[in-house]
Amino acid sequence: MTLVTTLRSDARGALDPRAIRRDFPIFERNPGLVFLDSGASAQKPAAVIDGVADYYRSDYANVHRGVYRLSARSTELYEGAREKVRRFLNAADASEIVFVRNATEGINLVAQSWGATFLEPGDEVLITVMEHHANIVPWQLLRDRVGLKLVVAPIDATGGLDMAAFEKLLSPRTKLVAVTQLSNVTGAILPVESIVRLAHARGAKVLLDGCQAAPRLPVDVQALDCDFYVFSGHKTYGPTGIGVLYGKKAVLDTMPPWQGGGDMILEVTFEKTTFQEPPHRFEAGTPDISGAIGLGIALDYLASLGRDAVFEHEAALTGYGVDRLSTMPGVHLLGAGQQRLAILSVHVDGIHPHDLATVLDQHKVAIRAGHHCAQPFMDRLGLAATARASLGVYNDESDVDAFVDALKAAQRMFNVAP
């Protein structure tokens, strides 16, 4: 069951982080940077940065419009990026990939199009206490519009999802289960295969928030059998401003547009408009063309490293981090249940996370301090904030060591060294 432990022994050397760091210009421009905040946003490889610039230099024109060759080329690149995302998620068809601004917009799209169409007063949306605000607030807004009920599944004593409670909370009124695949606060990996099976058995659809999982775990939406899957480009080593909503074709086909404009129509008269098929039905206006192309390059980059190797590398490094942090006096690592990946959240006796982050910054260790956009979860944990280190493909044991050393320095500075 413990993925992290079983992989630890044989996964060393799955990636070469030193070589990988040379692919990311940020490390050359910021010597000594210990970047442990990929959970908030990942750094960009030169291939993405240069690829976007190159696209603007060589191939730029608007998409889906021009008869001229440049526009056709631009369209090919944009639709090519969609195909790359399809491959990344192993979706059955590229038409199941909708480009959005970010994962947040993907969830809002589902809430406002699918949710507002198919949910009725008294219907239930089941989430977990671990959710990011992006997977809470869109459902609250919808609740206030249609009168549905938002049900929240708890965690167990170890920090994992309480599956027994989750199963009990699934009811005949549950129409949607919307859960994270990997907690951005604790790094808990949720048993999404079981969640999808249980939800489908009761006729509920499932949305998975893959923001933290997509950059780290091989994802196969057909094997998962989820109805919706969202992830953001910028956490997946791509540009900001681009995200992805995957939806099963049979589900997307039933959904009305959520925004109107150019590019999403077949024919417009002042009396009536007919709409494009998915995915274009959901992409009103000129899209983030360069963002999509940059994301495609980022996904190529991850594929070149090997998705399994990326996972094994981060799992091994997570195990190393757990070992080092869990033996530090005065330092408390947030529990993540049976399986944890890439996220190490701590609180330190006598030091507020914000003070910790400032001291760590002085040691060039970049971490996130705060509530991680999961205030209800923090309230449940009884914490105002934590200090969170999150891993990426460029991190190695020296980064974890630097984190540990900086924590010790902070303990000395605040006179709380055990």
Binding site: G350, P353, H354, D355, V359, F414, N415
Partner: protein, 154 residues
């Protein structure tokens, strides 16, 4: 910049052992300050006697900077007039943001001096709000009176 300029002993001391850390049962004014960025919360209680601050105290949780700032503020504002308090806040705000400040009146020079250790935050833009949270809550308390108010730093 040396981190000890930010975390001077006086800051660590007030941060770990805040003074006037207590609720008032019947304050004439109070307000909650909230920094959504980091989740810091502070409630400032004020009891006025005419134009004079008879008692000022606070409760809350937050980083060393926000707790120390609230603690020092309560020590300094006790027995001041509202006019003096306003002058001190303006002077303090200018110091921590690095803005141009009006000259401090002679009578308040010692108090301004006591706030000096907090001015290290101006080198850490993300932390300025930690230092000013309690002061903003104090100001909001005076405006809202005994009904209370909640202000946010963002």
């Amino acid at each position: 910049m040396d981190l000890r300029d930010l975390y001077q002993d006086i800051i660590l001391d007030h941060g770990q052992h805040p003074r006037n850390f207590r609720k008032q049962a019947e304050p004439s004014h109070f307000a909650n300050g909230h920094n959504p960025l980091c989740g810091d919360r502070v409630t400032v209680y004020v009891t006025l006697d005419g134009e004079r601050i008879k008692d000022v105290s606070f409760e809350g949780r937050g980083c060393a900077i926000s707790q120390a700032s609230a603690s020092l503020m309560t020590e300094i504002l006790k027995d001041k007039t509202l006019g003096e308090a306003s002058t001190l806040f303006k002077g303090f705000h200018a110091k921590v943001t690095g803005a141009a400040a009006a000259a401090t009146p002679e009578a308040l020079a010692d108090d301004m001096e006591r706030l000096e250790p907090l001015t290290g935050v101006k080198a850490y833009p993300a932390r300025v709000k930690c230092a000013t949270l309690a002061w903003h809550a104090f100001e909001a308390a005076l405006k809202s009176g005994a009904v209370g108010a909640t202000i946010k730093t963002e």
